[in-house]
């Protein structure tokens, strides 16, 4: 089985995220870059599947030079090789452009599965997996908390608000995973050593066969015109309980549309 895992470098989950003043895109210098947490589950699932039935895992990331660290992290966890899509013209790309480039790079490489984390902690749109599936014309098996492959049949449990749906498709297919699916491994020391020798192929927009005018900030379907920082936390509301405390709390919660 040949599996591609798409991984994204995002600002450290706990860091305050900032936009740049220059073009109002994510300020990647303001925080350490880490592998998007849900993508660790995607890598783990790919490794579990190939460990069980053989195969190959290719980690794919689109991002600036530094994003190679995230490809390398996937290799340290156990992926066999990496593809890093890096090109100045990609700066500021939206989900539509990202899915275009990813689908061009992933097409015709013989992948049985393309696995994503179900969302990134910076953009949090959850749309790229579906878009890539659509562009490739393959089933989109999103929000999986369980994945089984038998021959050319893929079965997942799709996490829903109330439980899960059992969904079946043929392969090749695009899968996105939720965090219930597994427990990502730590890169072992042997994995860290081995990753030094694993190949990472660098791909440009031109290599992918995409016109530079279709990607980047200028081509994005939406743009940030202005932004303001979140106001500092306001002091809480104190309710004295004179017998009507419960009612007052309920009124407050209802006013704030919590209930």
């Amino acid at each position: 089985m040949k599996i591609a895992v798409c991984v994204k470098q995002v600002p450290d989950t706990w860091a305050e995220k900032k936009l740049t003043d220059a073009d109002r895109t994510l300020d990647r210098e303001s925080a350490d870059g880490v592998m998007n947490e849900l993508d660790e589950y995607a890598v783990e699932e790919a490794l579990l599947l190939t460990e069980a039935s053989g195969g190959e895992v290719v980690a794919v990331s689109m991002g600036p030079d530094k994003a190679e660290e995230t490809v390398r992290k996937a290799l340290q966890m156990g992926a066999d090789s990496g593809i890093h899509i890096v090109d100045d013209s990609l700066h500021g790309s939206d989900a539509i452009a990202t899915s275009l480039v990813l689908s061009k790079v992933l097409a015709d490489k013989g992948f049985d599965l393309i696995i994503f984390g179900s969302e990134s902690t910076d953009a949090r749109m959850s749309v790229v997996p579906a878009m890539v599936a659509e562009r490739l014309g393959v089933p989109q098996m999103t929000f999986a908390n369980k994945v089984e492959v038998a021959g050319e049949t893929l079965k997942i449990q799709r996490q829903t608000e109330y439980g899960y749906d059992e969904v079946e498709s043929s392969t090749p297919a695009v899968v996105s995973v939720v965090e219930k699916i597994n427990e990502p491994r730590y890169p072992s020391f042997k994995g860290i050593m081995a990753a030094k020798k694993k190949p990472i192929e660098t791909v440009t927009v031109a290599d992918a066969g995409v016109d530079a005018g279709q990607v980047g900030l200028a081509a994005a379907w939406s743009q940030v015109d202005q932004f303001s920082e979140r106001p500092p936390k306001a002091a809480g509301v104190k309710i004295e309980d004179d017998g009507s405390g419960g009612v007052k709390i309920a009124e407050y919660l209802s006013e704030q549309k919590f209930i």
Binding site: K190, I192, M193, K196
Partner: protein, 389 residues
Amino acid sequence: MAPQQPFALFDIDHQLSPEEIAVRDTVRRFVADRIRPDIAEWFETGTLPARELAREMGAMGLLGMHLDGYGCAGMSAVDYGLACLELEAGDSGIRSLVSVTGSLAMFAIHAFGSEEQKNEWLPPLARGEMLGCFGLTEADFGSDPAGMRTSAKQDGDDWILDGSKMWITNGNVADVAVVWARTDDGIRGFVVPLDTAGVTVNEIHHKMSLRASVTSELVFDSVRLPATAMLPGVRGLKGPLSCLNEARFGIVFGTLGAARDCVETTLDYALAREQFGRPIAAFQLTQRKLAEMTVGLGNGMLLALHLGRLKDAGIVRPEQVSVGKMNNARTALDIARECRSILGANGVTLEYPVIRHMNNLESVFTYEGTNEMHTLVVGQALTGIPAYR
């Protein structure tokens, strides 16, 4: 200006390669997931799931990580140091488990063992399926191991081992000990499976330090060992002393982990704790403590990294490791005590890691060469005069 963590002030990460950062992050995550949630309870109850942890550490590649071949990960000295630092940020007892297995027991077999001994013992020790310990210190011979009473006498092809070893980390959970004994041919090392007839292992209780670590006495009563039990590669005290030099290199880094955990905890506490209507971090006396501790910590880290680079270049000298152990164990202990004072009454409880680190560091200050011995080693290096003989 936003508050920053002590090592960030020194931009320590700038000194590390991406692989070194990966090693550090792997161990840091293991400590966050597996050690931090339970360590206060293990310390309080004086227990440690050593075997369970060893298997997980083995899977990661921690045990004997700086050794090559025989199932070991073959990492650098700096990698090993960074791993020790993160482990000791969890607890000195956890780092001790790894130090003793990897740097004392495994290193001794790796450096001085026969091919058969290496093949038999190193792979299961590296996987964490077995645990090792190291018997040099005796009840009456600590800093002066040359006086040891434990002896091995030849009986035909066999050896008969008699005596006892004291303060042996991992003793009661170990499968195998590297034991140093006096013979007609000088001090020699022996690989002793602890289930051999005549071996008794007694656990040492009532410790107020390293409570999440197993400490034991090994007693050998006419223990018959085959000729193949002896480590063929070394004769004399330089055998055990070179093992200790490995382990204390890990301590140069490890102690800084305990100290960093104290400073980070204390910084958070001082920013949150209010007295007289302002955070205690706003008072000059507290700021001075925080600043002095951070400078001590950063200097210690720069020294540790320097020694690590020398070690990776193969040119570090024992007296340089003594400089590191002497400075960093003392600095860490001072930091832990100072942090305890900032935490006030909260500092004496196990709700915070500080007094646990402080008590642990009392042992670390003494073991693997007392602070006094390292001071005299440095004195001898400067003057050429050994003051302790």
